[in-house]
């Protein structure tokens, strides 16, 4: 049964990747739709970022003093000015670790 679920999940996931690329003709999308599609990264990724920062493992909102919030702010500022993926991730993680290992001990 688990195998069956994995395979069905895999087929659905593959279909989600393939459907728009292989089955939809680009001409079917109007200019309005194409304009809106420009915002896909801005519309998708914050829905992964916000819960990752503002919720804990139990699905509850974290306190305003949570280290993740400050790590994210540091990453945001460093990323904005450096325009570097590596600097964004590293600065966020390091500042987060600095808070939990040094400031909170």
């Amino acid at each position: 049964m688990t195998w069956f679920s994995i395979i069905v999940s895999g087929i659905i996931t593959y279909f989600s990747r393939m459907a728009m690329v292989a089955l939809i003709d680009r001409e079917m999308l109007g200019t309005k739709v194409k304009e809106v599609l420009n915002y896909v990264p801005a519309a998708v990724f914050p829905a992964i970022i916000f819960p990752g920062v503002f919720f804990n493992d139990f699905g509850l909102l974290v306190e305003i003093t949570d280290p993740k919030i400050y790590g994210a702010i540091v990453a945001l500022v460093v990323g904005f000015y450096s325009r570097s993926v590596i600097a964004t991730i590293v600065s966020g993680l390091l500042s987060y670790w600095f808070i939990i290992f040094f400031l909170l001990r």
């Binding site: 999940s9 939809i24 519309a43 829905a47 819960p51 993740k68 993926v85 987060y96």
Partner: protein, 228 residues
Amino acid sequence: MLSKSKIFFKGIVAVLPHMLSVIPFGIITGAIGIELGFDPILVYATSLIIFGGASQIIFMQLLSGGASSLVAITSVGVINSRHLLYGAVLSEYLEKLSFIKKLLISYFIVDQGFAESNKYIKQNKNLSNPHYYVLGTGVTLWFCWQLSTISGIILGSFIPDELGLKFAIPLTFLAIIVNDLRKLDHVFVMLVSGFASLILFNAPFKSYIILSPIVALIAAFIMLRFKK
């Protein structure tokens, strides 16, 4: 004119920084599967067959928590439905490919690969073979994902929980969009999506992951009307 292999290589290089979060995330995914009591082969099969980190973790968590297959499958479908949006964007760059090639390249469409490809191809509009870039990002992410989940399965949870490595996941996605913070219209759409995700977080089947982007895209649509 850039050769095919050069474009492919550029794709590889573009996603390398993301390995900082992809590799720990893969290790965590493998380790969680074992911790939840799944057979190692089953855990690895999710990486090969589903190939999508968040959905694999939630799939295994739901099944081990006694959820029905239908619930687990539905959740995976909802979480991964965001690929429909990536496909809609990428289809413009991939439309010249044969049907078979489209079917093959589709397997490799991943968050970070999509984001980097979209960025690069937008900046280099007259690229002759943009799909090699997409493929370079996708294949690299695929290999690292397979290897890191396997390491997680073998080594188990050797990464101490206190490190809070899960925090690398939101950071990697922040790194993807941080440049777009310079554009106010994009910031507006991001805020709508972010706040929607906080409000909808407890909706069934983790549906916030697709409902929030839909809300944000509707907001973008309305915003575009007012701009004109």
